[in-house]
Amino acid sequence: MSELLKINNIETYIGQYHILQGVTLEVKKGEVTVLLGRNGAGKTTTLRTIMGLNPASKGSIVFKGEEIQSLPTYTIAQKGIGYVPEDQGIFAGLTVEENMKVAIQKENEETHKRLDYILNLFPDLKKFWKKPGGLLSGGQKQMLSIARAYVNDNQLLLIDEPSKGLAPIVVEKVMESILQMKDQTTIVLVEQNFMMASTIGDCFYIIDDGRTVSTGPMKQLKEDEEMKRKYLGIA
């Protein structure tokens, strides 16, 4: 079985708004799956629904062969899903070190190894180890958020728009690091920046009006001009 995560026709309400009206995804182990689509299409809500932050009212989410759609958020996280939200969710008043400490679920040999690995990937975090998270730059916050999600032995990372609001040079850095982490873990990435999405993505899903409307390998999308124009507004 190569699917790590299988989402079957989920629907999600936020308040009285019917945001997701049938999203279906299959995420293969070891791949980077990119969710594309216009603003407000439901990409962020899809990630939040996987995490149980906006629970689905219909459909199923199967992770490692187990249904998780009705579990509380913290249990879903413990099952091995790391989450990097759109706003990074940094604890601004806590230092980088404390942010990492909150994230580490079990302190053991393995997490120390992972911590070392991720700090080598993002040396800035080591530099600002004792600084409050709120004082970091946008890119550093992004790195800290990714590091927090990575440090536990998570088999799946959900990353929401890591390039948002970052300078192009920083975007490249973040992109490189995600590429490096690729062979360690599976990633679901929401990304508006098509350059970045097409560089690191293995396959894509397009979400429109709360539904998955198209899927395929990334290569296919790169050549499909019409699809790009229709759903992504790229001429």
Binding site: L53, P72, Q78, E98, K101
Partner: protein, 286 residues
């Protein structure tokens, strides 16, 4: 000089008592978004149960321990059966905690009678020290020391333990804490318990300080604690201790010089903070 010193000491002692009440209030608010209007009731329960144990056993220490345990117990019960059913609904929460306050105060009258009880400091904390022509009342110093110890203890807990970190993180971003695999509901319970314990401790310390306790004291102190929570910034623990000292001192000085205005000054302070800096005088959250 002697007068100023005594007023300061008095203000600090009162401030510490308010702090014990306000600290729990602010932490619970910051973490759970619950403004517990029954918190004053826990203060009064701490006073009654503690003083009762103290007078029956003759040991003030037992009284203090008993009060704290009462606080813990009531905190757990409150969180589990009163607050939990209405999480996320502000209006319902405010209403229900006020109802609890009502029941808690009336229960005191049912158990211990409607009249006020008297309380005196134990032998070893009675009287005063004289340094030169300065008279220092022992019990006031005792309250200040206990208050500072509790402050230091909670501060240590928040800074240096995992659960403390989680509490601070939760104040800033509850959702993210859960997304990192932490069951925040358990942390809620813990904070509620600690906060209630502190309030109860404040209550039992207040008994011998004022000499009498009555069922209405919870409400009176709760109002001061609310003022402190607003001035210090809701959810800000260190802010609450500073604001409590400020309110205690201003109360003590005003009560001496212009007693009519003592509550008014604190109210005015709160109004000014609400207009100018609703997030509190002492910086952001943290």
């Amino acid at each position: 000089m002697e007068l100023l010193f005594n007023l300061t000491l008095n203000g600090l002692a009162t401030g510490m008592l308010i702090f014990l009440l306000a600290a729990g209030l602010t932490l619970i608010f910051g973490l759970m978004d619950v403004l517990n209007f029954a918190h004053g009731g826990l203060f009064a329960w701490g006073a009654y149960s503690g003083i009762w144990i103290y007078t029956t056993t003759g040991s003030f220490l037992f009284g203090i321990i008993g009060a704290i345990l009462t606080g813990f117990l009531l905190g757990i019960i409150t969180e589990k059966w009163i607050i939990k059913p209405v999480y996320g609904n502000h209006v319902q929460q405010i209403l229900i905690t006020l109802g609890l306050m009502l029941v808690l105060s009336e229960m005191l009258k049912v158990i211990w009678g409607p009249n006020q009880l008297t309380a005196n400091p134990p032998e070893y904390l009675r009287g005063s020290w004289e340094i030169g022509d300065m008279i220092i009342i022992k019990y006031r110093v005792f309250i200040i020391v206990v208050g500072l110890l509790v402050f230091a203890g909670v501060q240590f807990l928040l800074k240096n333990t995992k659960i403390g970190l989680v509490v601070r993180a939760g104040v800033m971003n509850k959702e993210m804490v859960q997304a990192l695999g932490i069951n925040i509901k358990k942390v809620f319970m813990f904070v509620f318990m600690i906060g209630s314990g502190m309030a109860a401790l404040g209550g039992v310390l207040f008994g011998p300080y004022s000499g009498v306790i009555h069922a209405g004291m919870g409400m009176e102190f709760a109002i001061l604690a609310f003022i402190v929570v607003v001035i210090g910034g809701m959810g800000n623990f260190t802010g609450s201790v500073m604001a409590a000292i400020l309110v205690g001192l201003s109360g003590s000085f005003m009560a001496y010089f212009v007693p009519e205005l003592s509550l008014a000054v604190n109210m005015l302070l709160m109004a000014v903070v609400l207009i100018v800096k609703p997030q509190g005088l002492f910086g952001g959250k943290g």
